[in-house]
């Protein structure tokens, strides 16, 4: 460690008050009241001394900044996409790309939804269709590539709606909502062959592509001896464009980009980015942020870094398993996903078991986690709740921030809550915003 950030310790009594004030929603807690913050791995990373020094040479010129060209070069070199547009974060890129490619009534198949991605697809007039393999929805299935696409599901959509109605297939590496699960290169190659035949693009949601590449190296035949850098480049080469939140793999606190190999898409994106984000050579990012991303991309492709990164997640997962806590398997790349349905079998899904569990863990130890279940899934366009098969609490690991001793605290806290799981009550939602309700919804404990 070269720089540390001090943490505040709180008492159980204080934490009961904090979570009540936050409406039993961990998003609404103040960070200073949190001891170990596993809410998200997005933008919570520790930068390296190399990134901090690049930060200092960030060029803040409005147009044609040197830092922009460094970022462009890094993306072209390591990911291989031809044209790039920086954005302030991933959702900025999703917004622009969805608007350009999706027409009203279009169908967007993908390997499981992600909250902001699906919303931008819907706002652009499209509808999302899940084509991930069935194994992904079963938390106990140990299939090594639960991020894979079921080509039969895609083929059924093409037959039903016609390829013209499908502007692109949306492929995430790793699949966040499935528990940080990878897609295999074999599956991606088959998908490429199929989409090429039907003239459909593949757009790559590449926020955790290096973590996906690590799993390919560890699990897929023929890739044992290839380094992560090579695997990442191969993944990208099988797709036509990408959106990226650089706040994950790329080891920064803010930033994203859109990339494409298609000049027309690039030109249209350049015209739109200036309205939403900023001129195309900064896209809403300070020069110094573009520098830090360029270096973070390179650092994220180091085999040693990914080994330590995914290794830490596995350490926590194995420890939880040894306490008998039900978790999604195999263990994913960026966090441990606890199966709240199995943890709290006495609660119905509309009593928000994952939300209740996240609140209880905070009360026990000051560890902040996130609900990924019925609250996150939101409502369908007809107003009904989505009831996802997976009702999870996500323990997400910021990169390079916490030590192994911190992980021990987290596992022991989960175990302590597991001991008295029968006493945990469900919640009722008392405030619900229109979009992305998980961020701001408020709850009260049920009486019974």
């Amino acid at each position: 460690m070269k720089m540390v950030e001090l943490l505040k310790m709180t008492t159980r009594h204080q934490r009961i008050k904090f979570i009540r004030e936050a409406g039993y929603n961990t998003f609404l807690l103040r960070s200073e009241d949190v001891y170990i913050d596993l809410l998200t791995d997005s933008g919570t990373n520790a930068m390296s001394d190399q990134q901090w020094s690049a930060f200092m040479r960030g060029d803040e010129a409005y147009a044609g900044s040197k830092s922009y060209y460094r970022l462009e070069e890094a993306i072209q070199k390591y990911y291989g996409y031809k044209y790039i547009i920086p954005t302030h974060q991933g959702r900025g890129a999703e917004n622009i790309l969805s608007q350009i490619l999706i027409k009203k009534g279009d169908i967007v198949p993908g390997n499981m939804y992600f909250t902001t991605t699906r919303l931008h697809q819907e706002l652009a007039g499209g509808s999302f269709h899940d084509i991930i393999i069935d194994e992904a929805h079963d938390p106990n299935n140990e299939f090594p590539f639960k991020g894979n696409v079921d080509l039969n599901k895609l083929d059924a959509l093409v037959k039903k709606y016609g390829a013209k109605k499908i502007p692109y297939v949306s492929i995430a590496t790793n699949v966040n909502m499935a528990g940080g699960q990878p897609i295999s290169l074999k599956n991606l190659k088959e998908l490429r062959a199929y989409t090429r035949k039907h003239g459909i693009r593949i757009i790559h949601d590449m926020t955790r592509v290096a973590e996906n590449a690590f799993f390919i190296q560890q699990r897929e035949a023929g890739y044992e001896r290839k380094n992560i850098k090579t695997i990442v480049k191969e993944i990208c080469s099988l797709t036509d464009g990408a959106t990226m939140s650089a706040k994950k793999d790329a080891l920064v606190n803010i930033g994203g980009f859109m990339a494409t190999n298609d000049w027309d898409v690039f030109e249209e994106a350049r015209n739109r980015v200036v309205i939403y984000e900023g001129l195309h050579t900064y896209g809403g990012l300070a020069g110094r942020d573009m520098e830090a991303i360029a270096i973070g991309i390179e650092e994220s492709l180091s085999d040693a870094h990914q080994h330590a990164r995914v290794g830490q997640v596995e350490y926590l997962g194995h420890k939880m398993e040894s306490f008998g806590i039900p978790i999604v398997k195999p263990i994913g790349g960026h966090g441990i996903f606890v199966d709240a349905k199995a943890f709290l079998p006495h609660l119905r899904q509309d009593e928000f078991p994952a939300q209740a569990l996240a609140a209880e863990i905070f009360i026990d130890s000051g560890v902040r986690t996130m609900e990924r279940g019925v609250v996150s899934a939101g409502r369908k366009q007809n107003g009904e709740n989505y009831y996802p098969k997976l009702e999870l609490v996500r323990f997400t690991m910021p990169r390079r921030v916490y030590t192994q001793a911190h992980m021990d605290v987290v596992a022991e806290s989960a175990a302590a809550v597991f001991e008295k799981r029968n006493k945990i009550k469900g919640l009722k939602m008392v405030y619900e915003p229109k979009y992305l309700r998980f961020f701001q919804a408020r709850f009260e404990p049920l009486k019974k």
């Binding site: 961990t26 609404l28 200073e32 913050d37 200092m56 044609g64 974060q89 606190n253 015209n271 701001q440």
Partner: protein, 463 residues
């Protein structure tokens, strides 16, 4: 009248970190400009010596702000840095709802996306380029209501940024209050030469809005600079602090949008502040979709920390005096050389009247863009056209409807360049004045459908 010789205006700060600049030759710059299709927005910053393209996000932060960057809390939700920023902005605006955004145009897009729409009308002293684009993008119409006198670049008036109150009332009557989405007051008025708005004008606008039940938006990315002019030009404000004046202005608005990259003294950031609960709720929904969660809105923790500190530094009397006077230094000396400039000099930039300086070039050939190109070739200086490239439109026959004025803006980044750099700019204008017949107009060979000045490509016209 005998005037004491003016003494040097030294900066109320010293340099703690430097950024080396590259010196290029005129021949090199000729080539670089041709590669950039005669649009300086397409130059790489490496090829620019003095960058007066914009004062937006190009300022130098203080050591206190850099220290704040180090304590930035990068937690996704409820970060300490957010609480710090929220507290500072609430104190300044007195508004209940503070939404951070990655920059000003995001705040505008959210707000005008909700208020705008087909058949809606926005009235303003002058809409800035991105403001207008955001409004027109929703299908609404943006109408500028400047007093006739203010359109004369030479006339000396203390508050040339004011809205014409009579025109405002007429417009409300003509379009009916129910069709008017909002009145927007831009302070200072950027497109009109960085000219200030008076408190009195703003108070009158408030009255008119109240009488017609209209929403008043203050677009205040340069509100501290505007406060300086009020204190020094408007009766009754001589003894008030700049911060008090800004607070009083903001107390007259219903909504405050700010690109923090100007008077926020930072390289990235924006704010959307509101009083109304219902409107704020709608804005918050859109914020989360497109910008980020409510406690970071697309900014890193350290950016929020730097902004919280910048918003207090900007009201320092020594800083504001230096800021306004150093801009005036460039403008007054250009005028003394015989370069026609918009008068009086505004807060953040000097605007050269290219219609006069390049009168041999017809407006259809963009005299402002021609001057911008010459300043780059002669001095490596980058600036921007604020004329028919930025605001021109086409009629149904495809003929150019020119902008009101053909200006070139020399925007001064905050705390970046020294007086020697500015003297160098002045010397470059000597070369421009000697050019005489060797000036070339331009024709557009590529333009996008909106905000064309950013990415349009040109070629020189050689007769």
């Amino acid at each position: 009248m005998n005037k004491k010789p003016t003494r040097a205006l030294a900066e109320p700060f010293k340099i703690k970190m430097v950024e080396p600049l590259r010196i290029t030759t005129e021949a090199y710059r000729q080539e670089a400009l041709a590669r950039a299709s005669y649009n300086p927005f397409l130059l790489t910053s490496n090829d620019v010596f003095i960058d007066l393209l914009t004062d937006s996000g190009t300022g130098a932060m203080s050591d206190r702000q850099w220290a704040g960057m180090m304590v930035g809390d990068e937690s996704y939700a409820g970060a300490r840095s957010w609480q710090h920023l929220e507290k500072v902005v609430k104190q300044l605006t007195g508004m209940a709802h503070i939404l951070p955004t990655h920059q000003g145009r995001a705040a505008e897009r959210i707000l005008y996306g909700i208020l705008g729409g087909k058949n809606k009308i926005f009235l303003s002293n002058t809409h800035f380029d991105t403001t207008r684009a955001n409004i027109e993008f929703t299908g609404a119409t943006a109408i500028d209501l400047m007093p006739e006198a203010s359109l004369d670049p030479e006339l000396e008036l203390p508050f040339k940024g004011n809205i014409d109150l009579k025109k405002l009332e007429d417009a409300i009557r003509q379009h009916k209050p129910e069709n008017i989405a909002a009145v927007i007051m831009t302070v200072t008025n950027n497109s009109a030469g960085g000219q200030p708005v008076s408190m009195e004008n703003l108070q009158q606008v408030r009255k008119i809005c109240d009488a017609n039940n209209l929403l008043l938006v203050i677009d205040g990315c340069r509100i501290a600079e505007n406060s300086y002019f009020i204190k020094h030009r408007e009766k009754g404000y001589e003894n008030k602090t700049y911060e008090d004046i800004a607070r009083e202005m903001l107390s007259l608005g219903d909504v405050f949008v700010m690109s923090a990259k100007k008077d926020g003294m930072v390289n990235m950031g924006g704010l959307l502040c509101l009083r109304d609960d219902a409107l704020s709720l709608k804005c918050t929904n859109l914020l989360i979709i497109s910008e980020g969660f409510t406690t970071y809105g697309g900014l890193s923790g350290r950016d929020m920390e730097a902004l919280a500190i910048g918003l207090t530094e900007v009201f320092d009397p020594d800083y504001l005096h230096y800021r306004i006077r150093s801009t005036a230094y460039l403008g007054e000396r250009l005028k003394a050389k015989g370069v026609p400039v918009v008068w009086p000099i505004g807060g953040h930039a000097v605007y050269v009247d290219a219609k006069k300086l390049y009168k041999q070039i017809p407006v259809e050939e963009f005299p402002g863009q021609a001057l911008v190109c010459d300043l780059y070739v002669k001095g490596g200086i980058r600036c921007v056209e604020v004329g028919s490239v930025m605001f021109g439109k086409y009629d149904e026959q495809g003929k150019l409807i020119p902008a009101e004025n053909e200006l070139v803006r020399l925007a001064i980044p905050r705390r970046v360049y020294t007086q020697s750099h500015i003297d160098y700019v002045l010397d470059t204008f000597d070369d421009i004045l000697e050019l005489q017949g060797k000036k070339h107009g331009l024709r557009i060979i590529y333009e996008p459908p909106a905000l064309r000045h950013f990415t349009a490509r040109f070629e020189q016209i050689h007769n």
